[in-house]
């Protein structure tokens, strides 16, 4: 028989989630009989147990790794880590040898900007359609032909040009242009070059969003990641 919910259950619930009430405790039994608290207790305990399992796995693996620091596998691992980090830490060759190109690039950009203003501004370039925002390109590979449209239900639909050899795509959305913070939205294993962001997720996004797309080939092997930023339409 289920018991009625009383205010007293709430501090007990906190103690139960914290693991301070064991399975035989009367207070825990009362929570398990309460129609309001029982589903909450079951979910919270499942969550706590899942976190405990994940934590235990992490501690066990790290203890094993710590004990293997002098092994042959560790020496091979160290060699791989050294080579990979050295490659990642090195500035790209173009940055070292072509610094003299920087002033020329700035001058060319300014000239192009001046040309664009004189040919387009006065001619009254039509504004883009209101539901589609035009992306600005990021520093990684360029995500081409990105379009962002908002559906009637507030969801966002992102679509981009298919990548050669790509069999699937992983998508991450970020608040920062460098795409280095925690992703705000993740959708993996998309078979087509498009991604729907549900309206409840859209509400968590800032006005300006950076999208990072990781294409995979059929093997599956990682292809070059692509990035672009857009203003929410």
């Amino acid at each position: 028989m289920t018991r009625a919910h009383v205010e007293q259950h709430e501090p007990w619930l906190v103690e139960a989630i914290d693991g301070r009430l064991d399975a035989r405790d009367e207070r825990r039994a009362a929570l398990a009989d309460c129609e309001v608290c029982a589903p909450l207790l079951a979910d919270m305990e499942a969550l706590r147990d899942g976190l405990d399992d994940a934590g235990r796995l992490e501690r066990d693996v790290l203890a094993e790794v710590s004990g293997a620091r002098e092994s042959d596998a560790a020496r091979r691992g160290a060699a791989q880590a050294r080579a990979a980090i050295a490659q990642l830490a090195a500035p790209p060759p173009s940055a070292r040898s072509r610094r003299w190109l920087v002033p020329l690039a700035i001058a060319a950009t300014l000239a192009l900007a001046a040309y664009w203003i004189t040919t387009h501004w006065r001619a009254g370039e039509p504004a883009p359609a209101p539901s589609v925002s035009r992306p600005q390109l990021g520093g990684e590979g360029v995500l081409r032909a990105l379009t962002v449209t908002r559906g009637a239900d507030g969801a966002l639909e992102l679509a981009w040009e298919a990548v050669d050899d790509a069999a699937s795509y992983d998508v991450e959305l970020f608040a920062d242009e460098s795409a280095t913070g925690a992703p705000l939205f993740v959708s993996n294993g998309l078979a087509e070059p498009r991604c729907a962001v549900p309206s409840d997720q859209v509400a968590r996004l800032p006005a300006r969003v950076t999208v990072r797309v990781q294409p995979w080939d059929v093997n599956p092997r990682r292809l070059s990641p692509l990035r672009a930023s857009f203003q929410q339409p």
Binding site: V14, I17, D18, L40, D43, M44, A46, L47, R48, G50, L51, D52, A54, G55, L57, E58, R59, V61, L62, E64, V65, S66, A68, R69, A73, A74, R76, G77, A78, Q80, A81, R82, A84, I85, A86, L88, A89, S168, D170, A179, T180, G181, A182, P183, V186, N188, G189, W216, V218, N219, P220, R221, R222
Partner: protein, 188 residues
């Protein structure tokens, strides 16, 4: 200075491009292939040594890209473990998906005995859900369940009273619940 503070110091020196720090960091990152080998063994070795080397390479790229978000809330190895686990599970899911589509293309029927990636999905989603909490809530939950600390110890590490740590913990767990429910629906 405790281990996390000295690790944060090391990462700051790496980001500043200090040669000696990069060498020390490279040495610490030997844990990446070892963690992946351990995860692979625990899963019944679904990947060959060459596959885990490829996954390690992906982890190094990811770590380097995310290095500036390391806040010193756990040891470097503990922080790195999450990336290894994430990439390992991603690789596992991709392989399972590829095998599923191969069996569909070859006309094989999906049987109840075929392995479903629920465990992998659950672990990956648990980490994704933690990422959606506020940094403070996620730090407290990780410290409690992953580092096995008491609320007194968590408070000391984060420089907050133990009761504030408890509040962050319960709030975080409560916020994880609806996300957990949607995760269950996805799995079912």
């Amino acid at each position: 200075m405790n281990a996390w503070e000295s690790d944060l110091e090391l990462v700051k020196r790496v980001l500043a491009g200090e040669r000696a720090a990069i060498d020390e960091f490279s040495l610490r990152m030997q844990c990446v292939p070892l963690i992946l080998a351990s995860l692979n063994a625990r899963r019944g070795r679904p990947f060959s040594a060459a596959d885990t080397t490829d996954i390690a390479q992906d982890v190094f790229v990811l770590l380097w890209r995310k290095l500036d978000v390391y806040e010193g809330m756990s040891t470097l190895e503990s922080w790195v473990f999450r990336f290894c686990h994430y990439e390992f599970l991603n690789a596992l899911r991709r392989r399972q998906r590829a095998r599923q589509s191969e069996s569909i293309e070859s006309g094989a029927e999906w049987t109840a005995n075929a392995p479903r990636p629920t465990g992998a999905v659950a672990y990956a989603r648990l980490h994704e859900i933690l990422e959606r909490l506020s940094p403070r809530e996620a730090s407290v939950i990780r410290a409690k369940h992953f580092d096995g600390l008491t609320f007194d110890e968590i408070g000391a590490r984060l420089g907050i009273p133990p009761n504030t740590a408890k509040t962050h913990y319960y709030r975080g767990i409560e916020r994880m619940r609806p996300l957990l429910l949607s995760m269950r629906e996805e799995i079912e």
